[in-house]
Symmetry: C4
Subunit: 268 residues, 4 copies
């Protein structure tokens, strides 16, 4: 057994994988505890040491898996996911990268790649994404067009909400989630009374597009389960039917064979 195969046997061993899952869970809890100033003051040093130890375990595990699978490691997108998450944690989080400290909790998401049941759920969810792509692109185009228009029309009236393209995009995203849009609309309408036309049309079109995004997901979910059930039921019946037809055909051929015999024995 080559050393590479032995390492692969190790990293694919059930016990090893369960150990990693436990480390992920414990790390998620310690990172959660670190958010509390009280806990940090009391046992902050301990948490810090534990966090470093667990990061060390993750790094070693990743190196072993890299060694075991070689370059094919990166062919599986779940491996790439694990690699990126561990890599983020290894970047020294100081100075301009201090925001990365907050991203360490992303390690808890490794639970998704480590637990097969979670993996299946996420794969199922992602399967619906391609069906959403074209409507998503259309929705993006609609929001962009609406944002340029609103910035030009309302930029001077309400700079807080429509001051520049970025602000307007955020405001329109907020409007699309249906949140607090009347306040914004009434503020704009005080200066531009016809602004309601923009808001009503934008809300109707964007809700219609979002609704169709939802339907794309629902239909995709339906196709996976309901349709499969029915097609399966139908296939079962078709198989029954084919068996019954085969029986009839066999009976008919036997009959023909017997009649052929009858003819041969016949006096000519």
């Amino acid at each position: 057994m080559k050393p590479r195969d032995r390492v692969r046997a190790l990293v694919e061993h059930k016990r090893f994988q369960q150990f990693i899952i436990w480390v992920i869970v414990v790390n998620a809890i310690t990172l959660g505890l670190e958010t509390s100033p009280v806990v940090l003051r009391e046992v902050g040093g301990l948490l810090h040491v534990a966090d470093h130890a667990m990061l060390y375990i993750f790094t070693v595990e990743l190196v072993l898996r890299l060694y075991a699978h070689g370059w094919r490691f990166f062919r599986d997108s779940w491996n790439v996911f694990d690699f990126v998450i561990v890599a983020i944690s290894l970047i020294p989080a100081s100075g301009p990268f201090s925001v990365l400290r907050a991203l360490r909790i992303l390690r808890a998401l490794r639970l998704i790649s480590a637990v097969p049941a979670m993996r299946r759920v996420v794969s199922g969810l992602l399967a619906a994404v391609p069906g959403m792509a074209s409507i998503g692109a259309l929705l993006g185009l609609i929001i962009y067009v609406a944002a340029v228009m609103a910035t030009k029309l309302f930029g001077t009236i309400s700079p807080q909400y429509f001051g520049d393209l970025g602000t307007t995009l955020f405001t329109l995203f907020q409007t699309m989630t249906g949140e607090a849009w009347p306040d914004i609309a009434r503020e704009v309408m005080a200066a531009a009374p016809l602004a309601w036309i923009f808001f009503v049309i934008y809300i109707l079109i964007s809700s219609f597009a979002v609704l169709n995004l939802f339907i794309a997901v629902i239909v995709s979910g339906m196709e996976k389960t309901v349709t499969d059930d029915l097609v399966e039921a139908e296939d079962r019946h078709a198989a029954d039917q084919a068996a019954s037809d085969a029986l009839i055909l066999a009976e008919l051929r036997e009959l023909r064979r017997e009649i052929a015999e009858l003819r041969q024995r016949e006096p000519r």
Copy 2:
């Protein structure tokens, strides 16, 4: 007839169950009336006596059912439901347990276990829950990760919303219901202009997960009704087809029998 069987016959008698349903309804009304200070001042004593009397009825009914069914009583989860609700009412509601006084109205929920039609509806709703479990767990993980991240990132900027993990979890639950999130986002963005990235990503991912929770329920509802209708229709046709095939086969076998006779009578 053993005494236990007689008690069982009593508690399963239609009249007895209708009487209990009426007591539940009357108790729900009296507990509702108790919320009014005016009513409480006028007929508070009467309501109090009635409430005690009805709790006594519920307790006696429960003891009878316990006696009738023995330990098997706890195998039916509806019985456990009834038991817990009555038990809550029997705990003396004073001192630290004064909140239990407010839980007495939970007795009205016994209507669900007492009326068979309600029981069926709730059973139907609960049937959708297992299908939601895996996406629910994923959603929980996403919220936890987002909460730890937000507490670290925005804890000092906006302690009112992101001060500690509990507060952040509540804020993110609120954001997930799509309520008043722009106020929070704009408050945070005043200090951390890039915070919109967190909010937009969180809203998109959590709505997508919630949407898929909904779809799990819809698909489960579909499978129960639409699919059943169709599979039933198909089974009916398959049965028709099988009957027709059986007719053809019988006819064929009769034919074979006749030809066999023909051969036997033939001169060799």
Copy 3:
């Protein structure tokens, strides 16, 4: 032709019904115009006269239909709908009944009963209602229990929202529509920090129930259209199959007849 039959021929005549539809539309517009003080000052008298004239037309139409159909008139619920709407307009709207003046616009809803396409749409919508009844009753029970509980728990903390049962029911309806609940929750949580438990549970349960109400409607809509399409396709195939089987059977019987002939001609 009896006078009653002649009246019936009149009220069922296409021209007559189109005339009534036009009167309904014109009346809806004049009642809309009456809401404008400017219009009322300028042509208020004219609108008043027109409104009286149109109410007169509706009354005459109703009397004619009543005469034409006799008591069977009230068997059709659309007729009862028309009758109630016209009756509301005929009650003198003064003193305590002045609110009835605002209900005159309900006459515009007669468009639904007068236009067959609208009637079909509304009938279709109402067909979904029975399927919603049991979940609706459950939702009502949940809201009632939550309201009694919230009034007891939060009545003294936040009398504005939970002061008495009626106020609480309105607050909980508002919470169920997902509107402005965080403001209320945060106000209550300032005094009762654990109140989030009530709000989170109530929101989860009530959204789940509302979601299932939606699904009941969706499934009902599905059953009417998608299932019908499929069952129809299946029935068509079953008919094709039955025809094909009948052909096979006929062929088989012909064969049997011929063999029987063969046997009779045979020398014994």
Copy 4:
């Protein structure tokens, strides 16, 4: 080759269409950049020239397509869409028409008509519209009736929200999107305590109608995909079945032919 055919070959050439798509994308970006005062100050002149050049390209393209297709050009609604969008840009945007400057970004929507995949998505979305028309009309009627009623009832109580028919229509549209209605309701209820009846009934009826609008779209989406899948599966089985039946029939007819031969050779 006639000149008209040569022009048609040009405008339908893949390279030409890709060039137009690139111009649309670049124009969308330059129009987006124009919203930024900083960019406008730095390279405003350049953007202005580029914008004019690109409008010139669009105009020439449209004239070529008009020449190539003649009057049949207007038979395709996508062509009409392109024509209107370019025409809007050509109207001198000054004085009362200055709002048209903001509509120039609508040119970016030409991406929908230029990219075939986008065209298909939008055609798919629009296919759901006829199924929504009747419920949409009903919803319009309900909102109109509710608006006239609310203006009469609450116009003097809360002129900000219900002052005239237009304002009320906007308020009711806002209420239908479920946004900030409790603030409005509580303001009105302070003067008219029974106003909750209006709000609760309006919200229930309008959400039910909107829900059914959604279902019309979902059912329409379902019919296009799920049903097609199933009907296709069923058709495949029916074809299999028909082939198997044809085999049985052929076998039977062969048998009959042989028996007929047998009879002819028989001694009479």
